[in-house]
């Protein structure tokens, strides 16, 4: 038996004038999952979320929530609630009144409201905060009130519009974990949109990577990272070293990737050679191995100069330049301190297994803007 679907979107399309913000999207979200939509600004993710919430009417397609078509149903009548990007807590009310607001609109009165609000405050870790003014709360506390205000209404789906965006880095890291724990605890389906890939990866059961109105890939975070389906996903999710290369054949009919400087790299055996004259090759920093022995014959090894050591604790990396090249590559530094001797301006060797690289035709690459 299939798991029940909280949310089912079919052929959803939204145009603004000639601009297609959301382009014929179809996807399902199972009950109780944490589902993220990850994409750069302007990719249409907010539009998608607002259509699910009911603030925008789709031009085509349907939104089903718990198998009920939401066509023509206004936001206040839908079993979904939205946590706004700027949170939109009502400044003229205290914490308690903010959370009780929706219950009162349903006509609930008396001790029942009080009980529900207090349970919810407890659940988000803010007991005794009911009488506080919204302005007295810290960023993280506001966050939790905004979520509590929606959860108290027991929505089928909770929509979150980049709610961590306004927080500072440290708090954001903390809230990621909090939010995930909260979602597991309450078991509500979360649909979360963000442009921050780390938020999406850490919290989600499934991530959809969105680009100019459509999904590039919808998968678990692990699959997204290890087997990206497109050049866009490869670049958007995690860090990558990119090589723009041409396909060449040597005297003995073996195929190589050749850079514009004339370097030749071995290719993975599984690489599909069909009409791929020029393509991009991507290698993750952690797939780059420093001063490797040659474990297999087609292992790529190049000489490179260390430009800088980017020390960042557990996430330290080297910035290197292959010799006779202007390109910059990022190489992960293993944490066993075995490479502590490496200094800037040293010459080292780096290598990678062609099977750890991914390859995409350049023509395949959808427009990927740098200003994400």
């Amino acid at each position: 038996m299939q798991a029940a679907l909280s949310l089912s979107v079919k052929n959803l399309t939204k145009m603004f004038g000639n601009f297609t913000a959301v382009d014929n999207l179809t996807f399902d979200v199972e009950d109780g999952k944490f589902f993220s939509i990850l994409g750069p600004s302007g990719c249409g993710k907010t539009t998608l979320l607002r259509m699910i919430a009911g603030f925008y009417q789709p031009d085509n397609g349907s939104v089903m929530i718990q198998n009920k078509d939401m066509k023509g149903i206004p936001p206040d009548k839908r079993p979904v609630n939205l946590v706004f990007q700027q949170l939109a807590l009502f400044p003229m009310m205290n914490v308690y009144e903010n959370i009780a607001f929706g219950l009162k609109r349903r006509g609930e009165r008396g001790p029942e409201v009080k009980k529900k609000v207090n349970i919810m405050l407890e659940r988000v870790g803010l007991p005794e905060y009911g009488s506080k003014k919204v302005t007295q709360l810290s960023g993280g506390q506001k966050q939790r009130v905004a979520i509590a205000r929606c959860l108290v209404l027991e929505p089928e789906v909770l929509l979150l519009d980049e709610p961590l965006g306004a927080l500072d880095a440290k708090l954001r890291e903390h809230m990621k974990v909090e939010l995930k724990k909260l979602q597991v605890k309450v078991g509500t389906t979360f649909v979360y949109i963000t442009h921050d890939q780390s938020e999406a990866m850490v919290m989600s059961d499934y991530v959809a990577v969105m680009n100019s109105g459509h999904f590039e890939q919808l998968d678990t975070p692990q699959t997204l990272y290890n087997s990206p389906a497109s050049s866009f996903v490869t670049q958007f999710v995690g860090e990558n070293n990119k090589f723009s290369v041409n396909l060449v054949k040597d005297e003995s009919n073996v195929f190589f990737a050749e850079t514009k400087e004339g370097f030749r790299y071995h290719l993975s055996d599984s690489f599909n050679l069909q009409d791929s004259e020029s393509f991009d090759m991507f290698v993750r920093p952690e797939a780059m191995i420093i001063n490797p022995s040659r474990p297999k014959p087609n292992f790529n090894i190049i000489n490179a100069d260390v430009k800088a050591i980017l020390f960042d604790g557990g996430n330290s990396r080297l910035l290197v330049t292959p010799e006779k090249s202007e390109e910059e590559l990022i190489v992960a530094l293993p944490q066993n301190r075995q490479f502590d001797y490496i200094q800037a301006k040293d010459s080292i060797k780096i290598g990678w297994d062609p099977d750890a690289a991914v390859y995409f035709k350049q023509a395949d690459e959808r427009i990927y803007k740098d200003e994400i």
Binding site: R50, G54, F55, Y56, Q57, P74, P75
Partner: protein
């Protein structure tokens, strides 16, 4: 209900109708007044008897147009002189007051601030009377004690300027303060750090920053002074300002020459207002 929320057609149409009616309400009297300035009739009323410019340029004997009407021309000239004086004076003092209340700390600042905004809630009539009474008593006192008769303390041009200045300065102060409050004071500190003294800091940094609000404040002061009636009424001497002149004419039966004056005033104030608003608009963006 708002742009981003779906709302019914009736709601939108109803709201639009409301705004249209509101705009008609706003503009009907002004437009009628302007149109009737060109009616070839002895009364500012319908029926339409044909287009004429006589109410602007007529040389008499039947119609004396505005530009040959020395009584109203004098009124306009006086109002203009008053408005220029008030505008200059209140912009200067208003700028100083903005600095005083935004950048200085001193005892009784709260009390002085309260006094500064008090003219907002003092009816103009009362302000006019109090200044009239005070200057009258003062001039009697000075004449009795020193035997000097100070003419400017009796209702006159100078008193009108002082009376208008007393409350228009509050408005100007608030306009300039609003901008000064947003000023990043580290700029001043940076300038001081680079060797500028307090005077140079204010002259080169702060006043440059305040310039749009100073110009805006001066324009608003000019318009408020030009049209002021309530305070002026009690302080005016032999030189009447335009609003006082107009009031007498309107009260005692009017000719379309008032429409002609209105036409010119509406057009010029609109231009000044739009220019000021545009400056304000571009400043924000």
């Amino acid at each position: 209900m708002i742009r981003t929320l779906p709302s019914s057609k009736i709601y939108k149409a109803g709201f639009r109708l409301f705004i249209v009616i509101f705009l008609v309400f706003l503009f009907a009297p002004l437009i009628i007044t302007m149109i009737l300035a060109f009616n070839d009739s002895m009364f500012p009323s319908l029926p339409w008897k044909g287009f004429t410019l006589d109410w602007f340029f007529g040389k008499g004997p039947k119609i004396i147009g505005l530009f040959n009407d020395s009584f109203n021309l004098r009124g306009i000239a006086t109002s203009f002189k008053v408005a220029v004086s008030v505008s200059l004076l209140s912009t200067m003092v208003g700028t100083l007051a903005a600095f005083l209340f935004e950048q200085e700390n001193f005892r009784f600042k709260g009390a002085l601030y309260f006094l500064m905004i008090a003219p907002l809630v003092i009816p103009g009539v009362i302000l006019g009377i109090s200044i009239l009474l005070f200057t009258n008593s003062l001039s009697i006192f000075i004449e009795d004690t020193f035997g000097i008769y100070l003419k400017f303390l009796t209702p006159s041009f100078g008193l009108v300027v002082l009376g208008q200045f007393s409350f228009i300065t509050t408005i100007v102060t608030m306009i300039i303060s609003a901008r000064l409050r947003k000023f990043d004071r580290t700029l001043e500190e940076a300038a001081a750090n680079l060797g500028a003294n307090r005077f140079q800091v204010i002259w080169f940094i702060t006043l440059k920053y305040l310039r749009p609000s100073i110009i805006g404040g001066a324009a608003i002061a000019f318009l408020m002074s030009f049209e002021n009636f309530n305070t002026t009424l009690f302080l005016v001497g032999s030189q009447s300002t335009l609003p006082i002149n107009l009031y007498q004419q309107v009260r005692d039966g009017s000719t379309p020459v008032i429409n002609a004056i209105s036409f010119i005033l509406i057009i010029t104030t609109s231009i000044v207002a739009v220019a000021t608003l545009n400056r304000g608009g571009s400043r924000k963006s």
